[in-house]
């Protein structure tokens, strides 16, 4: 087991390095962050001096190596816009993002698992068709459109929920206030996640229902409830674990747009503003973090696999 984990980590390292190189190359094609500085009041010479000070006059591979060397010393660089350390900025924005991610993931699973199981157990019934159709709707509605609809209904028409930020301005928040701000972004993310998950879980459970050991369980006469909830559900855990693993990178990306719409002060909002101002070190930091998250999520999924299903041998 530990051998397997070490091997997986060793494979992940070159992938990670590759990602940072691609990242850096794309960004250097982008144009310089100094374009934002240029204007009638800043002289050509001042821009040039700034360029040298930031190391932007070097070719891209030197810049990359410098960045890499700093990274190995635990320094992710400084934002070119706010001059804050990137690691500090990421830490500041991580909390709200994790909060939103966790809440929407749990909500999504709470909807998807029972719905998926119900739909598999009652295959081809009216309820099954309704659930499957609803799940298609969930994965086909663009998050931003759903967000707009929710804001229209709950903020504009009913005036029930706040539409932006994490706490009401001018107050110091409190759990209830934060919870109220979270409802809409969480629902939007959970809805689209549940859409995909329901179909995965449904087909996973369907497959398990055809297994011989379930026929045995039924033949024992232990009753429908125990057959489904003990024998089938436990074995359906494996595909469910995979689904959760796959969802993390998707969530990470989906957050960006939703955070932007609801002005949720998380990583997504920070990333969007960094992208708009071409703040290289910040973008690099976020890309690195997200790549690490994705690779770790994949690894953990594979390990959980083995824990949930003792018949899987890791080599």
């Amino acid at each position: 087991m530990s051998k397997y984990i070490i091997k997986r980590i060793l494979i992940a390292i070159p992938v990670l390095i590759g990602i940072t190189i691609i990242d850096y190359a794309i960004m250097c094609l982008a144009g310089s962050p100094l374009e934002m500085l240029q204007g009638p009041r800043i002289s050509e010479a001042a821009v040039e001096a700034k360029k040298i000070a930031l190391g932007l006059d070097q070719p891209f591979y030197i810049q990359y190596l410098v960045w890499m060397e700093q990274l190995l010393h635990g320094n992710m660089g400084f934002s070119m816009k706010s001059f804050q350390p990137v690691s500090q900025m990421i830490l500041d924005h991580l909390g709200p993002t994790l909060l939103l991610m966790g809440a929407s993931m749990i909500t999504g699973l709470v909807i998807a698992i029972p719905a998926g199981i119900y739909s598999a157990v009652h295959q081809y019934s009216k309820g099954d068709y309704a659930v499957v159709t609803a799940s298609f709707l969930g994965s086909s509605v663009p998050g931003f459109f759903l967000s707009l609809l929710l804001v229209y209904i709950f903020t504009v028409k009913l005036n029930l929920l706040p539409s932006s930020g994490m706490v009401t301005l001018g107050t110091d928040g409190g759990a209830l206030d934060v919870a109220k701000h979270m409802v809409m972004p969480t629902l939007v993310l959970a809805f689209s996640m549940a859409g995909t998950n329901i179909r995965y879980i449904r087909s996973a459970v369907l497959e398990i229902l055809q297994q011989d050991y379930l026929r045995t369980a039924r033949a024992k006469g232990i009753g429908h409830f125990l057959v489904i909830n003990k024998h089938a559900l436990r074995n359906a855990l494996i595909p469910i674990v995979t689904v959760i693993g796959m969802q993390i990178p998707m969530l990470f990306g989906g957050q960006v747009i939703i955070e932007q719409i609801y002005s949720w002060p998380g990583l997504g909002l920070m990333t969007m503003s960094a992208i708009n101002s071409r703040d290289y070190p910040v973008i690099m930091g976020v890309c690195l973090l997200s790549a690490v998250v994705v690779l770790v999520a994949n690894l953990v999924t594979d390990i959980l696999y083995a824990l949930v299903d003792p018949t899987i041998q890791l080599k």
């Binding site: 070159p14 992938v15 990670l16 590759g18 990602i19 691609i22 990242d23 794309i26 960004m27 094609l29 982008a30 144009g31 081809y124 159709t133 298609f136 709707l137 994965s139 086909s140 509605v141 663009p142 998050g143 931003f144 459109f145 707009l148 609809l149 804001v151 229209y152 504009v156 990178p249 998707m250 990470f252 990306g253 989906g254 960006v256 747009i257 932007q260 719409i261 990333t271 969007m272 992208i275 708009n276 071409r278 973008i283 976020v286 890309c287 997200s290 790549a291 994705v294 690779l295 994949n298």
Partner: protein, 296 residues
């Protein structure tokens, strides 16, 4: 049981493969309905220059007029006809989706064939590269790329085309690995058939069905992504209309609250198109699957 066995014999004796597929596809009523919807909407998009009541970029009427007999879906803030823009927007959104899907399918198929057939170092390199692209949070990559390249129709097509391929590459590689071990492919190798023939005339046709199914989901996804990017202002640029950038205006509170005819129709149109594509893809998966005949 007996009945289904009868059906199976009919499958083998009287029907061609395509007939079987179509018969199975037709059982999915929702998918048939979706196909009709897609054909109608696609036709409308194709014929937009003929059937659109106004020029989509012309200032045809009063500012922000609600729907009326003259302007069926009203006009936008600067007096352009919303219905005409909707038709043209659909045209652009479908074009982006289809082109991006084509590009990513071609890249994915070629890389998957090479990796699966040759194995060894080529396989290792291609699959690690695939891992890299897949480990990128998809939207982040698209956003970074979109903010870098001059936004516009072709850059959005290329960006989406170049990030959507890893799934197809993996799928094709997996199928090729199994097909390579089959007797008919081995027979071809022994007979000394040219590589091009083996890859494209023997292996590829046997993996088209899953590729086709996967491509429908890529089409749906890339249309959603185009909409999201254009909504954020990083995709199709005005004055060109796309379903996504028509929603862009709804970020302002006046449009959101007072002028729903500006943002509800394009949003609903995206939902209808994407859900119809998904339903068709799902029915195709069932219809093309050789093992699905025992189901109802």
């Amino acid at each position: 049981m007996n009945k289904s066995r009868n059906k199976n014999t009919i499958d083998i004796t009287n029907e061609s493969y395509l007939q079987t597929v179509f018969r199975r596809f037709r059982r999915h009523r929702l998918a048939m309905f979706s196909l009709v919807v897609l054909l109608v909407l696609g036709g409308a998009a194709l014929l937009a220059p003929i059937i659109a009541p106004y020029d989509p970029e012309a200032l045809a009427g009063p500012f922000a007029a609600p729907p009326s007999a003259e302007f069926l879906l009203g006009t936008d803030q600067i007096g352009r006809d919303v219905l005409s823009r909707l038709l043209y927007g659909m045209r652009i959104s479908l074009l982006v989706g289809i082109m991006a899907t084509l590009i990513s399918t071609v890249i994915g198929v070629v890389l998957g064939l090479i990796a699966g057939y040759f194995g060894g170092i080529a396989d290792m390199l291609i699959m690690r590269f695939t891992d890299m692209v897949m480990s990128f949070p998809y939207i982040l990559l698209v956003l970074v790329a979109a903010s870098i390249f001059e936004p516009g129709l072709w850059s959005i097509i290329l960006i989406l085309g170049f990030v959507d391929w890893p799934g197809i590459a993996r799928l094709v590689r997996g199928n090729v690995l199994t097909l390579r071990e089959t007797n008919f492919v081995k027979g071809n190798i022994v007979a000394g058939m040219p590589l091009r023939h083996i890859l494209f005339s023997e292996i590829l046709p046997n993996t088209t069905a899953p590729i086709l199914v996967y491509a429908t989901s890529v089409l749906a996804l890339s249309m959603l992504d185009e909409a999201a990017l254009s909504f954020l202002g990083l995709g199709i640029q005005p004055p060109d209309a796309s379903l996504g950038n028509m929603l862009n205006g709804a970020q302002s509170l006046t449009v959101l609250t007072k002028q729903p005819w500006l943002w509800v129709p394009p949003g609903l149109m995206i939902v209808v198109l994407v859900i119809a594509i998904n339903f068709v893809g799902d029915a195709l998966r069932d219809a093309l699957d050789p093992n699905s005949s025992h189901r109802r």
